[in-house]
Amino acid sequence: MKTETPVQRTLRRFFRNPVGVVSFGLVAVVITVAASVAVLSFFGWSIPFDPNATNLEAKLLPPGGEHWLGTDNLGRDVFSRILQGSYISLSVGFIAVFVSLSIGVVVGAVSGYLGGWVDNVLMRAVDAIMCFPSFFLILTVVAMLGPNIVNVIVVIGLVSWTGTARLVRAEFLTLRETEYVRAARCLGQGNWKIIFRHILPNAAAPIFVTAVLGIPDAILAEAGLSYLGFGVQPPQATWGNIITDGKVYILDAWWLIVFPGLAIFLSALGFYLVGDSLRQAAETRSERT
């Protein structure tokens, strides 16, 4: 009989779950769109309109006709601007998670593996950081640094690693007592090698799940920042700043608020549901026989 690896089993269960399949489809669409927009704009093409081309004769047009989702107060095509905003949102999501994951994994691993006073100091620091309202902290630092995409990504990443650190630490606390870790230690392997070669791969599943769940958090934080005017700066369109520009016309041009918000909401929802379905699929306990 063919045996399944844990990854195969997780994938099989993930794709058997309708929520998983639908949300995976949603995320796949969002990523494909963002990637193609990024590639196209690299070559200087934009579809269907130039997102920054103003046309004062066609301002505040309602959805329908040539402009699918209408135009804003400068006559720019809302659909094109939402497409342009997509790769900002996603790249912030992915890279910020990469930053926070790197810090969180190292801090959590060292803390959980070494224990003792190192653990105590690191975890008290985590406790202290968790007391801060994270969005306000991000806003403060980005405002001081000056808003641009690199600062937004780095600051979101630097503020949001505490959850990962706690999770990794908890995994390490249990895994460091296992036989294979003792065996590795008896064979004289160094701490770093034990941490990264032996323990970390066995904690990969929950870490991967928190990473996926971290992406929408970062997307929402970026949207909030650029809504407040501290995200990526105009004329580059982001989902947040389309809403900011449109809020003046809130009672006349609902499409300036509704569609970019829908883009934020749907992509965040997709990632959350993929993350949650993955977590369920990776659980060893819940398999029904």
Partner: protein, 320 residues
Amino acid sequence: MIAFLVRRCLVGVVLLFLISVISFFIITLTPGSPYPWGELNPKISPEVKEAYRKKFHLDKPLLQQYGFIMRDLFSGELRSIKDQRPVLRKIGERLPATVALNALSLALSLSFGLWLGVYAVRHYGRFPDVVTSVLAFVFIALPGFWVSYLAVIGLVDFTGAPILGLQTYGVKYPGLAAEFFDRFWHVAVPACVLAIGGVAAQSRFLRATMSEALREDYIRTARAKGLSEDEVLYKHALRNSIRPLVTGIGLLLPALISGAVIIENIFAYPGIGRLGYEAVLERDYPTLVALNFIVAALVLLGNLISDLLYAWVDPRVRIE
């Protein structure tokens, strides 16, 4: 009990120190000008700059600056760069509005979250459970500022109800009841928007711990006794899962205050969040340091209280 309190207070002091260091250094070490007028503004004479630097101790080494700012903060002498008023008074003026907003939205998230969580557990693994799970993530994925605008569009456009600020502008109330209702209404809309994420978080939390509790033997016993499902769920399972819910309150507070930064702005609600946003715009860094510090310290206090509540709601926890 006393030993526990002493130990918790010692840890609390250590954390408070870390919090003060973080809130000070994050703002001062960030590259960027601390001057509200910008580094290279030609209209500001060097003397004014020098006086400014002296006044806010910017000419001193960082460690001394930290000492000064903490001393001023604790003695209430720390003044805002913008209007020279004591920061503590500015925060104090805004605090009641924020407390009202957060308390209401905390109550909403707890009650609806509890109900939704129990509902999900009742149908654990079946279709209604899947629906509530998806619904919880829908709630978390909704950007607060977007929902606020949709609420504004809906309420103002269709009902014409005034929802901005603390109360309806320029209205003479016919009586106390009318005043109370008007104020309540103005808090209620932003509180509902703010509570959306909390409802989801609490229901997910409760679902996870209660489904754990439902595997226990005492649940089987309760069922075997012939208790109704409501009694099993609310009296036996919920009571044993209430503890993480109490921790949840501690974790919700920073999230609520974060959310309030945007939502108080949209609803022109004069609370801490709006003060923070104004301070960010003005680069009013004494206010920023103080706000970050005070809010984090309040959260710390909240966590301590929730730890004590633990022992009160759950006799299995022994404080020693």
